[in-house]
Symmetry: C2
Subunit: 389 residues, 2 copies
């Protein structure tokens, strides 16, 4: 079975093309190439873009209802500053000040209402059943009833996160931190302070604002912030034009690069390669911009090497000793239906998982999930059996 | 102009297909897709395979002459042992002993006679004009007159190597070290001791043989050899079935991995990514097999981190200070015609180079070559100008 096969609702290609201002042939081609895909179950009237075309980013979702359409734009890719000073000068040349907010390490979702219900859409344009269940607790439907045109961009953060569980944020279970609010269809963001005001009004959690700085002082301020965030293993910052007319920039802590590598190299043959080069390059540029001494650089070298080699060595040894390495995460649900929906959701994405029996936790359930990283286990085992690389 | 465009000689597709035991349509498709490419200049009757198909490896060269054909088989890829003990046991299960020869770090060539002249063919199936000129000094035509069916596989090693210059081998200029001899067309290798005997008879240089070991003692012996080779920055070993009926295995020193990374990360955006993951993984497996203490592993971590970060930091700083990073190599030729042929050869492969004026060196000439690593220079410069990644 192809993962997104569904019966029933079909896309009205001609009307959709007209709404999206695209040629009909283009849309037909996307459907044929499975780059525009229908969701399943309750969301068969949603179609996700698995590629970027002309003015539509990958991850955008097209909603079809009674011959009408709505487009929920993909999450815009945030460019990375490698050297803070020149990047801020060049990128924000048209503004006087920049705001610095925290970049949190969690799971990225877009939250919208569809048919009057709040749903959480992943970066890839899927509706995540778990995030959708959880997000009902964090957001009031009033917000969307009064502002149905808004899309909230937020980070799902905390230990009960089956994607990126982190205990560093002092979140007990799971929390949504909103960092951006945009208009449906146009994708135009609210100005930063307006967004922060909205969060206060409607009482939802948002990312930390470190301050608004002149462009001249920003690089040094950000360096100080990054050093402090690094100490507590937080990820980094997003640098924003207060009016949000210029796209934001991201910048991260060395400790966060290394934490990513540590996790990636436990599963070196599944994700190690994808993580490695970019993070190594960031270390190089940061050392240069911060004019580090050879002692500082040596510390960085040791830290980098340790983040890569130790988790890999542990995995090779563990697998050699007969155990299997797995990513152990957990979810906390109020309805067991969410568990089966989430299981199906991961299965359709080709992920191999083992779900534990639900444990009662107050009025909710905890379900533990072992994600099998097949490639690392299989490859390492084959090496122990004497196969060659 | 497409790099391999030539006039004149055309491949007789029908006859070639018949000789290669391939369908005519297959060969036509290869030509259309430019996966079977005609060489230029003096070698228009040679056609190189830029892909592997059925029984023909990438890098194989088909010679057409007067309606007859000959196939010079591509250099067979040597599998890598990640864990010596299990790999030797499993891979060499049918033999009692293995021979261990040095794996040298140089430029890989296959040497054959074509039209009675000795030529050097690269891994990709090109005729390298420089290696071809040099190899005349190292090999006697007698060898090929008496054994026209042989293909010598050797490593061009030394400082006058425009590909991989190394001073570690105590070679003054350039030397050819033969490590394999195979039959044309069939690709069947000579038994190791027969090959070594031939080298003695015809007086050509060959790689070092460390010994022939029982399979039981081999892993420990190889570990000792690798430790010694590492100290002098040599690359590693090839483990061979003495009869050469089983394919050889390679195994390398940590110091050589790190030396590769040091070179690669000077040009991080050109070659860094390709080199990184595989070498990191080798470090992990070696540390496991050698049951290293955390002190040993820490040394490895620091060494690994240093090999990556310092050359990259130097390049970023150099480029920020207005200079450009380049790979500086040199060649030593007896004929200036070789220089122009080599320049054309690199140009056709899309390499940007600056050749110095030839300097007289005895009865030969030295030409220095700066290989511009455009991607690293351009990317780093753009970061200094404030562009984002």
């Amino acid at each position: 079975m192809r993962p997104d096969d569904v019966d029933g609702i079909q896309l009205d290609v001609r009307a959709a093309a007209d709404y999206l201002d695209l040629p009909v042939s283009k849309l037909q081609k996307l459907l044929q190439k499975r780059e525009l895909l229908q969701l399943w179950g309750d969301h068969q009237h949603l179609f996700r873009f698995d590629t970027s075309i002309s003015h539509i980013d990958s991850g955008s979702v097209l909603q079809q209802k009674n011959g009408c359409f709505e487009l929920i734009r993909g999450f815009p890719k945030i460019q990375r500053a490698m050297l803070l000073k020149p990047a801020i000068e060049a990128h924000f040349s048209d503004v006087e000040t920049v705001c610095v907010e925290e970049k949190m390490n969690g799971f990225n979702v877009r939250i919208v209402t569809v048919d009057g219900k709040i749903i959480a859409i992943t970066r890839g344009g899927y509706v995540c059943p778990y995030s959708t269940e959880r997000v009902q607790k964090f957001l009031d439907i009033d917000l969307f009833e009064e502002h149905p045109e808004l899309v909230l961009h937020g980070e799902m953060v905390g230990p009960d996160n089956p994607y990126i569980p982190k205990k560093i944020y002092n979140v007990e279970s799971l929390e949504l931190f909103v960092f951006d609010i945009r208009h449906k269809h146009s994708g135009i963001p609210l100005p930063l302070h307006e967004r922060r005001q909205l969060a206060k009004e409607y009482g939802f959690t948002q990312v930390r604002l470190f301050g608004e700085f002149s462009k001249e002082e920003a690089p040094l301020k950000i360096r100080e912030i990054i050093r402090e965030l690094g100490k507590i293993e937080h990820e980094g910052v997003i640098i924003k034009d207060p009016m949000m007319e210029i796209a934001p920039l991201k910048y991260t802590c060395s400790q966060s690069n290394c934490a990513d590598l540590k996790h990636a190299f436990k599963f070196y043959n599944d994700v190690g390669r994808d993580y490695l080069f970019s993070r190594v390059v960031r270390e190089g540029f940061q050392a240069v911009e911060w004019k580090e001494t050879s002692d500082d650089i040596d510390k960085r070298c040791l830290q980098l090497g340790r983040s890569i080699l130790y988790p890999m060595i542990d995995s090779i040894n563990d697998i050699g000793n007969g155990s299997r390495v797995a990513d152990e995460v957990q979810m906390r649900v109020s309805s067991l239906e969410t568990v089966s929906k989430f299981k199906e959701y991961l299965r359709r994405q080709g992920m191999e998982t083992i779900f534990s029996e639900p444990e009662v936790a107050g009025d909710e359930f905890i379900v533990k999930i072992r994600k099998l990283n097949k490639s690392t286990n299989d490859k390492t085992l084959s090496m122990w059996k004497g196969e060659t690389w």
